[in-house]
Every structure is written in C-alpha cells, then in structure tokens.
Symmetry: C2
Subunit: 149 residues, 2 copies
Amino acid sequence: MPKTKEQTLHISPDYIVGFVDGEGCFCISIAKHKTLRRKSEVRLLFEIEVKEDDRAVLQAIQKTLGCGNLYRLEYQRYAQWKPHVKLKVSNIKDIVEHIIPFFDKHPLQAKKRKDYLLFRKAAFLIADKQHLTDNGCKKIQRLKESINV
Amino acid sequence: MPKTKEQTLHISPDYIVGFVDGEGCFCISIAKHKTLRRKSEVRLLFEIEVKEDDRAVLQAIQKTLGCGNLYRLEYQRYAQWKPHVKLKVSNIKDIVEHIIPFFDKHPLQAKKRKDYLLFRKAAFLIADKQHLTDNGCKKIQRLKESINV
C-alpha cells in the first residue's frame, strides 16, 4: 500500500468556501426586545458548528477570517452526542469588515450563496442603522423569510 | 451596498476537500452474502449527499474526481424534506484509481481524514483480493469498527 505524506493543516480560502457550503450557517434573527416593547432586536449570525475534535479546523478558519469567537457546546440532553465547538460571528463590524469581503472575494458555490446574499443585504441595512426604523425592520423581516428555505 | 460579481461555478480541489470534510462519507459495509452463507460481502462506499438544488455542485465534483454516479433520492416518509441528490462511488477500481489518488494529493483536513485512511487501507486489501479470505475479512472488519466513531 502506498504511503501517505505527513499532514500539515492546509486551510485555503477555497477550502473554507467548500466547508462553509457544507457546514456554515448565515442567520437573521429578529426578536422582540425585552425592555423596549415596540422595538425588535435584529441580529445577524454567521456560524459553523463541528464536533470538538475538529476544533483546529475552526481555529484556522477563524484566523483566516480574522474574526469570531469559539464556543464549546455540550448537549447534555443527548448523552451519546460528543461535545461540539462553534465558531460564531455576530458583531456587525466584523461581518461588514471581514465576513462579507471574504465571501465576496471567494464566492460560495452551492445554494448557501443565496442565503449569504440575503444576509449580506441585511448586514448593509443594519450597518446603515435602518433596522432602527419600522421600514428597515420590515425589509430585514422579508430577507429573513427568504433565508434558509 | 457594493455589488457582487456574476458567478461562474468554481469547484477547485481545495473546495472539494472542504466540502467533503463537511458532507462526505467514507463507509465500509460488510454483509452476509445472500447465497454464499459462509461468505461475507464487503463493499466500500464514498458518498456525498446534498439537497437537489445543489446537483450542479455534485456534478462538478463528479467531473473532477472522474468517477461516480448521481442518484436522486425522495424521502416520502418525511413529506417536508426536499428531494436530495447523492454522488456515490462504490466500484473498487474507481476508488483505487480516482478517489484515493485525489485525496492522497489533496488531503482532508478534518477528522474525516481518519475515516479516509481506514477506508484507504480497506480499499487496498480489497484490490488485493484479501477480502475473499477469512483473515482479510477480519482485518476489514476491524477497520470498519474504527470508522465513523
């Protein structure tokens, strides 16, 4: 049997695009604000979740993207599940300055690109503070309804 | 909002590695042969399954790998599930001549690499007809027990 070479971790932009097309998530969340009854709280989330033994892959992706935090997740309800680790980017500045330039330069190839483009539109509305107006909030609501379907 | 460029499908080897690290499956299957009672039927399967609207991505991966067949899957039991499409490679010649050279040249980066290396060992045993001996079959059984865990 031919030998394989020793591996060094190689996480290129194309690799990240392939990985995110499979495992990534672009989400728009709109929740009623706890204290300001008439205002909604609009949040964007870019996430990748994997089993904990792939933490090194997420760390390399985090480094290339230049943003995001890693969280360890334990699913106590499902005893047979291994702990997971999640890379999460929710800060609008990070999204506009890091996530969007990366995926504009290295476009997603699968149907997830449609979600990304809706997420991207929402991000520019939020960066422009339009989510603080009723009209802007409605626009983001419509983007949310089209994402992940 | 800045405009995005028009997209042309760009499925590079690194993209495929990232996608397979997320969505690919390397399986070893050992079943009792239907007619030869004392012989087991050993099969290898490399598979990627996605929703049907990503068929073009699988077609591009199939073209790059130079092997495999596409199957449309309908999950009638789960009415809300969209049809899926699966790229499947089970022919040992295709595995040895296409799949293994590809993933030796472009190594997987995530934990799936461990599965691939077990699958690869099994492939060389099968190509060497060792699965037709009791001893070879036991070796493949041990590889199977370590895969996907």
